[in-house]
Amino acid sequence: MPAAFARARRLLMLRVAVMPEPLRTLTAVAAPLLEDNIDTDIIIPSREMRSTGKTGLAAGLFANRRYRDAAARIPNPDFVLNQPAFADAQILLAGTNVGCGSSREHAAWALAEYGFRAVIAPGFNPIFFGNCVRNGIAPVVLPRETIAALTNPVTVDLEAMLVNGHSFALPDEARLMLLEGLDPIALTLKHADAIARWQSADRLARPWAWLCERATSR
């Protein structure tokens, strides 16, 4: 069934999505927020998650810390991101167990939308770790003392797996996703040929499993 195969392949490959920019080497300002257990509620309070989508969240990032009056958006000058030296920060330095609490992916969405491309901490909540990778943010684990001693600008090199000369580790698939700017969907679409082959064979093997377009128009 070359026609069906071609159609399935075309449908799959149409999805050239706006995915995270590939992250190979990043040199940027790192903002220190060196406390342990920065939970997802601190990163984005639940009242800041106003829509059913994943955008429009950057203004709510760290809302309870960043603003004196969050509702009126009056900045708190003491908060690190409001200080001129850290205004363009793209790297966040945190304490251990960062991203604990609610599993909301909004935390990673808000960080990414604000412009963060890396979080460096002694330890990550596992769900938050995965959400960072999915959204183009490198989660870098380094010892507490190493993080405290980092000086700006900070360079995160995912090819050499070094941060200002200190090496770190990352699972292969996570590294691949960040290096190539792939989300899990894009990673799966690397199998587009196999998927299309399976589908065109399945249309013949299990015709009863396939609903034609007509069946769904009512």
Partner: protein, 469 residues
Amino acid sequence: MTTLFDQLFDAHSISDLGNGTHLLAIDRIMLHERTGASALNSLAATGRAIVQRNHVFAVMDHIVDTFPGRGDATSMPGGTAFITETRAAAKAAGITLLDVNDPDQGITHVVSPELAIVLPGLTLVAPDSHTCTQGAVGALAWGIGSSEAEHALATGTLRVQRPKTMRITISGRLAPGVTAKDLALHILAAHGAAGGVGHAVEYAGEAVAALAMEARFTLCNMATEFGAFCALIAPDAVTFDWLRGRRYAPADWETAVRAWQPLRSKDSARFDREIAIDGSSVQPMISWGTSPAQSLPIDGAVPVGEAGAAARAYMGLLPGQPLLSLPIDAAFIGSCTNSRLPDLARAAAIVNGRKVASGVRAIIVPGSGRVKREAEALGLDRLFTEAGFEWRESGCSMCFYAGGESFGPQQRVVSSTNRNFESRQGPGTRTHIASPETVAASAIAGRIADARSFCAGAPLADVAGRSDA
């Protein structure tokens, strides 16, 4: 290997990704308005589209009101946005939507089998933990998260780690007055709420083969309360007869049935775990605590011992207290567990000619528009309303509290639903889950009651009798 689960898993494996993870082909995707709009919008925001839109369906069930004459307005503050955004996203995506007032609207896991969206041998996923219900037709059906829903929509596949397999064999027959719900609670009470974690569960044995299709859905529904990855029952003549002629049933029916007939675990199949249950030993069950596993035979007493102290405190119960005759404030029949026609008919057989006890709020919510129509054709709506029940439009309704309607703090509710978690039906509400018969009998008595002591009315016995006996 060669369990039914392995057959279905292997047949859908497109690629072995290593470490037990496979790229599985997904045949059907169901969405509902609680999470549907976010999955569809987030897909659209990345410039992606649905790869097989004719295999994707959306339903309004969770947030939509169930009051007669309902529209898009909801008693849940902000709920309307979920409805209108899901509608707009479904239209933009070109998928089939069972909208608020569609004649076939209803709870996802009720309408999908009713319309034969799910079929034996298919894979079906939905961002909802009770998707395991649909495995009762012999499909691989499981609940997923929002990001996975997006992945399935965009690629027609999911990355899945192969779970272990478990078979629960129920021998003999269930006694009269004992239903699939009681069986589900019995399994939970005996093996715990984590008894099925990491396993695909197949229900088998004489007692399961004897269950009507609707009762099989009830049994599989509560596999998620057991922690299972999914639930399965091998399809048989009961399944095929039930699905035949439904809207999306295959046109070439004979070919499909021929393909489905071999879908069963081989005699030589090896399961990672086997549980055996004597069906005749199962009694009518009711939950006493705040986990479905905290369930007892209806004539049992609240356990003593430290382990249950928090649950007892929440439920307002004392150690050693019998559950029978405990006064109740409300009775609820509905949810994807027990809202199908035979559920309502069996409850009606108990209510028949009687009245709800004064001071008790009693509500019936059919699982779908179709169930509602069929029940009304049998006159069940009049029977229930004359007895003092509210008769609602279909939906999830007060199975769960979404911020709108609730029973109220400390209210004691006997409910045909699947979860008795703290505040599941409203802040502080005390839920006892049980079969529709037990709920009906308790509504009449105004107290937790044993339905077996109510003589079922004769005229409805033919509808009621077939379903679980």
